[in-house]
């Protein structure tokens, strides 16, 4: 009997160890491109990377992106809100039903009052939880929001300034921090940053500014399918591409973001895996549409688009790009069926330029703003020099104005008419095009002409404005997608940009990293990953 008991006990211990083993799937160490750990208090900084590693990991938003599939573009799914609808009679009044039974990492329950508290954190400068750093990041993401009220614990009402059907996309930016934790750490965001609390699938365990952050699974996460399988995920800022590659190759990290194309053969040769996928990223030239700009002529714009040998550029980047067929990537749900075929056809380009009065002997001379590096810029100098060569071959002589990235952002905000752009007629910019606003509206809307917004080229067209209004007033998701497609078709048919390429978010993984599904999104799901 004694032996039997001992045997049972051994079995139980073994079983419990096995059960633990099901969760205990190792530590993943990630080398990020950011130079610092993204802001840990809720609303992150460091752009898309910040949201990817410190936003949707530790926190949730009311509405989230579906990150489960690599094969189709991501769409919005319920997050901390389970359902939402707009009032039939008053299209500015939205009602959100919130998820019940969700708790923060500190154990406090999530309610509608917390959402109001979080909006105040970003929008109400008089509130005690107002945080200028989070506000700087978050306020401009929710331009539609006028007011918000908790109707009961699980019902929230939001009133928008004008009818705006893009509100759900805006809310996907806003991450919910724990009011109870803020209270517990003495109402101090700096203290909160060291021991943050959200409702996300990961909990921040250790945080050393500029050096590392360690995340552990939130085993009480409300979506059981997204409880992380790893024991731990360590985030390490490694901004220098060579240092990142060396850290991976020497086994100090298991995963790096954005490996430099020239290091990829060394990685694949050593058994490392390169993961990549289409995602809503754009590498383009915005064209000045101010008075006297040569880009006001559609023939010139189309000619430039036909002059670019995108396949040749792809070879330059080791195949890590998607040649542009439009403004949005070809796999986007909003691509539509434009009639202007964005392709490499230098003869057609020359013919169009000849119609416009330019030739190889009498080339069009333009200045273009470019930067030697920057967020999402891929390899800007060789890529732009390649473009310069392509354009010269059809009769467009480009002179570059090269500025450092931080200053480039200022020139991007200043707009084509500002004297600081030194007469440049285009700007090579790269960005997030994941939702209706960032994807289409902000680039060409009349009310967002720079410096008021990022309509850099001062374009304003009543038909396009009509389409934007329609996007904002179409509350049925499918119908809204159809308007988005029509808008994108106009973008392409009118050749409103020099459409060049899309990044594919390459990342290099050690051979023992398993289970990662790279979604067609700026953010990713790390819960499915295991280490073998």
């Amino acid at each position: 009997m004694k032996h039997f008991k001992k045997g049972v006990a051994t079995l139980l211990v073994a079983a419990s160890l096995c059960a633990q083993g099901a969760w205990a799937q190792g530590t993943l160490r990630v080398g990020m491109t950011a130079a610092d750990i993204p802001l840990t208090t809720g609303q992150t900084d460091q752009g898309g990377e910040g949201m990817r590693f410190m936003g949707y990991t530790v926190y949730d938003s009311l509405i989230e992106w579906d990150l489960t599939s690599a094969d189709k573009p991501s769409a919005l799914i319920p997050g901390l809100a389970t359902a939402w609808s707009v009032d039939d009679a008053d299209k500015t009044k939205w009602t959100f039903t919130l998820r019940e039974g969700v708790t923060y990492h500190d154990g406090s329950p999530f309610t509608a009052a917390d959402v109001v508290w979080n909006f105040d954190k970003l929008l109400d400068e008089t509130s005690e939880q107002y945080d200028s750093r989070q506000a700087a990041q978050g306020k401009s993401r929710i331009p539609a929001v006028a007011s918000y009220t908790a109707i009961d614990d699980y019902t929230l009402e939001i009133i928008t300034k004008t009818p705006d059907a893009t509100l759900p996309y805006q809310l996907a930016w806003i991450l919910i921090s724990s009011p109870a934790q803020f209270e517990a750490v003495g109402k101090d965001w700096e203290a909160f940053a060291a021991s943050p609390s959200g409702t996300g699938p990961w909990k921040l365990e250790t945080f050393v500014p500029r050096e590392r952050a360690e995340l552990v699974p939130n085993t009480a996460y409300w979506d059981e399918t997204r409880i992380p399988k790893l024991d731990k995920m360590v985030l390490i800022p490694l901004p220098e591409p060579n240092a990142r590659a060396a850290a991976l190759l020497s086994g100090q990290v298991d995963w790096i973001e954005a490996p430099a194309p020239d290091t990829i053969p060394a990685m694949t040769g050593n058994g490392f895996v390169i993961s990549s996928n289409a995602y809503p990223h754009n590498w383009t030239w915005h064209l000045s549409r101010t008075e006297g700009s040569p880009w006001n002529d559609i023939r010139v714009r189309q000619a430039a688009n036909l002059a670019v040998d995108r396949e040749g550029m792809s070879a330059l980047l080791g195949g890590l790009m998607i040649p542009a067929k439009g403004f949005l990537p070809p796999s986007s749900q909003w691509f539509g069926t434009p009639t202007f075929d964005v392709r490499y056809d230098p003869e057609a380009a020359k013919a169009l330029l000849a119609e416009a009065g330019y030739s190889l002997e009498n080339p069009l001379k333009v200045k273009a703003l470019i930067s030697p590096s920057g967020s999402g810029q891929m390899l800007p100098l060789p890529m732009n020099e390649y473009l310069q060569q392509n354009l010269a071959q059809v009769g467009i002589d480009v002179e570059f104005v090269v500025v450092e990235w931080n200053q480039m952002i200022n020139l991007w905000r200043a707009g084509a008419e500002d004297p600081s752009v030194e007469g440049a007629m285009s700007i090579n910019f790269t960005y997030f095009i994941q939702d209706p606003f960032t994807g289409l509206i902000r680039h060409l809307s009349c009310d967002l002409i720079a410096p008021n917004g990022t309509n850099w080229g001062h374009y304003c067209d009543p038909e396009m404005q009509g389409l934007f209004d329609q996007i904002k007033n179409t509350f049925d998701a499918e119908e809204q997608d159809a308007v988005m497609r029509a808008t994108h078709e106009k973008y392409v048919n009118d050749a409103l940009f020099l459409m060049v390429t899309h990044d594919v978010a390459p990342r290099a993984l050690a051979p023992n990293v398993k289970g990662f599904v790279q979604a067609q999104n700026w953010y990713q799901n790390f819960s499915s990953i295991t280490m073998e």
Partner: protein, 332 residues
């Protein structure tokens, strides 16, 4: 006789003290000048600290509001007065990009750079002195030419390139040493054990290469010159042993060698942006490069000021040490 010796010691101490005091007083305008220049330099550079903390499509109104919150809308002299006023109260302000106190950021990073700088100095100075002395003593021999070649290579080879090569050999190919970071768990739990110190090896060796070259060349020139001087011949003529003569030569070379090494230590303390970037070492150079890219004005100003003051202080220490060793310097 006894009283006279005591008086002399007193006089000498008093003179060194006066010298020290004079130099400290002279440091104040230098520090003020440094603060003004670093404030202005940062302001002149194109760019905007708000770009680091706001999405690119923040509207003009939102940017203006944020500018006001951070006090960036005030005239430059007012901004400077606020900054220097807070500085006198021991407040270096908060980083715009991270919101963390600048003092915490700077002193944390400076500590890491100190660790790296002293490690590099411990490697570089003895090797540099030894090689330089060998070359000077055996002037115009094969050994001299070999040392000269090493020291010229040390000064000429871009050290970030050398860093990358060392990483490829010792981290990637051989797997002996880590390629980045200041310890397995970051710099905050630094310990003097092999687990941590192995992180120090490659960056310290890389950083030591330039000072090895400079110190070796200086000591070679000094030793070579001194060994041909009349007093050396006189000492030999008096029957002094070779070891004792070399001690005299070393004493005469010390002041100049010390000043060169002091300056080198100053450079090392400043942290190397390139080396710290290549090895992802969380020091002041790494911090500075981040602050520059983000145009994080308070952090940039704080870091430059602390580093500049370090350099000034280093110069002061070297000068005082020189004066203490070599009485001729006080007289001049």
């Amino acid at each position: 006789m006894h009283v006279m010796a005591r008086d002399l010691i007193y006089l000498r101490t008093a003179t060194v003290f006066t010298y020290f005091l004079r130099r400290v007083i002279l440091m104040l305008p230098v520090a003020f000048g440094v603060s003004v220049i670093c404030f202005m330099l940062v302001q002149i550079a194109p760019g905007d600290p708000l770009t680091a903390i706001m999405p690119v499509d923040a509207t003009a109104d939102e940017q203006a509001a944020m500018r006001a919150i951070y006090g960036l809308d005030k005239p430059l002299p007012v901004q400077y007065a606020i900054w220097i006023g807070n500085l006198f109260q021991g407040d270096m302000g908060k980083s715009i990009a991270t919101g963390r106190p600048v003092a915490d950021e700077v002193f944390g990073a400076v500590q890491n750079s100190l660790l790296l700088a002293f490690s590099a100095a411990v490697i570089a100075f003895p090797i540099g002195i030894f090689l330089g002395f060998l070359a000077g003593y055996f002037r115009d021999t094969l050994l001299d030419r070999a040392v000269t070649a090493i020291s010229i290579a040390g000064v000429s080879v871009p050290n970030y390139w050398l860093g990358i090569v060392l990483v490829i050999i010792f981290s990637v190919n051989l797997g002996w040493l880590p390629s980045m970071g200041a310890g397995p768990g970051g710099s905050q739990d630094w310990a003097w054990d092999w687990l941590h110190m192995r992180h120090l090896v490659l960056p310290a060796v890389t950083l030591a290469v330039v000072p090895i070259g400079i110190v070796a060349r200086t000591v070679r020139a000094l030793a070579g010159d001194l060994l041909t001087q009349d007093f050396v011949t006189a000492l030999y003529a008096k029957g002094m042993s070779r070891g004792d003569v070399l001690r005299h030569v070393a004493r005469n070379a010390a002041a100049t060698a010390l000043s060169v090494m002091g300056l080198q230590l100053g450079y090392l303390l400043g942290g190397s942006i390139l080396i710290e970037t290549v090895f992802n070492w969380p020091g002041s150079g790494f911090l500075l490069s981040n602050a520059i890219f983000q145009r994080d004005l308070p952090l940039l100003q704080g870091t430059i000021l602390v580093l500049a003051l370090f350099f000034v202080a280093m110069n002061l220490i070297v000068d005082v040490a020189q004066a203490a060793i070599d009485p001729r310097i006080k007289r001049s």
